[in-house]
């Protein structure tokens, strides 16, 4: 007898099996999906919320929602992409809620007008540090964090999904509950703001490297 070589199952195949088993009543089968996709969802959630605590909450809520909506999951779909979209949807709600809470708690005199927070002038550093210091201290990372935090939840979601998630405009539009042209515009606005906030530092870094002073 010719021994059959063990079948090679792709993650997509085993995801589909786990979904089917979960739908059949085997709750433990969902564990496979949670364990397999938690890291990816966490990375998305962290980039969107900017902090570990919120990111972990987003991950938990995402999988709870995925379990509840599992019957809506189409077999042809990719579970990773599907759960990613659920995470983006929840993360954007969570960011909006967090901003409202923060605004009420820390800035009682200030409204939550996103337009004010959007102003690129608000995210330009107070005093531009020297390129050497930037390179040495990782201050650029801090500026990037601040620039990302200065985006609106919709812009941040659009940017993260587009540039780190590789999502298409249509998918982003679904997450933002907007038209595709509005989603496209949101992606553009996010990059434009990040450029305005970070361009000077990145260019200085490049300059420093060219001059041989970058450490």
């Amino acid at each position: 007898m010719k021994r059959m070589s063990p079948s090679v199952e792709t993650p997509g195949d085993t995801d589909a099996i786990a979904v089917e088993r979960t739908l059949a009543g085997d709750r433990d089968a969902f564990r496979v999906l949670v364990e397999r996709h938690s890291h990816n969802v966490f990375r998305l959630a962290y980039r969107m919320t900017g902090n570990q605590h919120d990111a972990e909450e987003v991950v938990q809520e995402t999988f709870l929602r995925a379990y509840q909506k599992l019957s809506q999951f189409a077999e042809r779909a990719n579970f990773g992409t599907w759960v990613y979209r659920i995470a983006a949807n929840y993360a954007i709600d969570r960011m909006r809620q967090r901003r409202t809470e923060d605004a009420q708690r820390e800035l009682p005199g200030r409204g939550v007008d996103e337009g004010l927070e959007l102003d690129p002038m608000n995210i330009v550093p107070d005093a531009a540090p020297s390129p050497e210091r930037l390179a040495q201290s990782g201050e650029l990372a801090e500026h990037m964090r601040r620039a990302m935090n200065a985006l609106t939840p919709a812009e941040r979601t659009a940017f993260v999904m587009r540039h780190w998630g590789g999502s298409g405009i249509e998918e982003i539009a679904v997450a933002l509950k907007s038209s595709t042209s509005a989603a496209k515009n949101t992606v553009f606005r996010s990059v434009q703001k990040l450029r305005q906030a970070l361009g000077p530092f990145v260019e200085r870094r490049g300059q420093a490297r060219a001059m041989g002073t970058d450490l």
Binding site: T22, G25, D26, V34, E56, F63, M144, V191, G199
Partner: protein, 272 residues
């Protein structure tokens, strides 16, 4: 083509297809626009370096532990045969279907072989039915042994993901061992019923090894892994699995060519 604006350059960077060729051509000719695109890319490249904390190797398990108590029980759908989570849900695993299918095929094959020999064969013999049954079992068990061998070989070669890690994650092998266990029990019982004591014995030993693996911790230290390997080696199970697999291969060939000899060879092998 006129100079693309910032939005168009960002879209170009994102791989958008509209007017892509024209933009590429323009960028080749226009140093100013090329420099602008490089500035956009520099900012995006810098953002790519933003660190994301590592939640740890066991993060997936932690998430599961946090959400599991909050997951409602799901009612099985009628087309899943109304099986409950505890008793039947796991039967949806394709490999279990394969095992169950093989056992069912034995019964069907026996019935059909009986009918064929009753009406068509000039000299109906019980050996024909037995031969068909045995071939079905041989094929199914051969594949099962192949999968078991894979798990054991992977376990023998398992090592930490990187030199810094002190533990080895064997959760994948564990889950597969759990799956193989149920199949193994079915095949062992069937082999016993068929009077194939050697095969039943090897499957019995394999069952103990699979149990051992299935009941080990998800993550083991290199020393614990070595202990598991030694227990596997002490039983010589990998060798036995390979030998029986090879023998099953020969038996399948022999059932094709010389049906009359089949029963006697099995008896002699069992004696040995």
């Amino acid at each position: 083509m006129k100079h693309p604006n910032e939005e168009e350059l960002i879209a170009y960077h994102d791989g958008e297809v509209s007017r892509r060729e024209a933009t590429t051509q323009h960028l080749a000719d226009c140093g100013e626009c090329r420099a602008e695109l490089e500035r956009i890319e520099a900012v995006l490249a810098a953002l790519d370096t933003m660190p994301v904390p590592d939640p740890g190797d066991n993060y997936g398990r932690r998430v599961w532990q946090q959400i599991a108590p909050r997951l409602p029980e799901r009612r099985a759908r009628w087309w899943d045969f109304g099986v409950s989570r505890h008793s039947g849900g796991r039967w949806l695993e394709p490999r279990r279907w394969a095992a169950a299918g093989a056992i069912a095929a034995l019964a069907i094959a026996a019935f059909l072989a009986g009918r064929v020999t009753k009406h068509a064969g000039p000299e109906p013999t019980a050996a024909d039915a037995s031969q068909v049954r045995e071939r079905v079992l041989i094929m199914a068990v051969g594949e099962h042994l192949g999968r078991s061998e894979m798990v054991l070989v992977e376990l023998a070669n398992a090592e930490p993901a990187n030199a810094k890690q002190k533990q080895v994650n064997i959760s994948g092998e564990q889950r597969r061992a759990e799956d193989l266990l149920e199949e193994n029990r079915l095949y062992r019982q069937t082999a016993l019923e068929q009077g194939d004591t050697l095969l039943a014995n090897v499957l019995d030993e394999l069952e103990r090894v699979l149990l051992d693996v299935a009941h080990s911790p998800d993550k083991v230290t290199p020393a614990q892994l070595e202990a598991i390997r030694q227990r596997i080696e002490a039983r010589g199970i990998l060798f036995k699995v390979r030998v029986v697999g090879k023998e099953l291969q020969q038996r399948e060939e022999s059932t094709k060519t010389s049906p009359g000899e089949n029963g006697s060879t099995k008896k002699e092998r069992n004696k040995a």
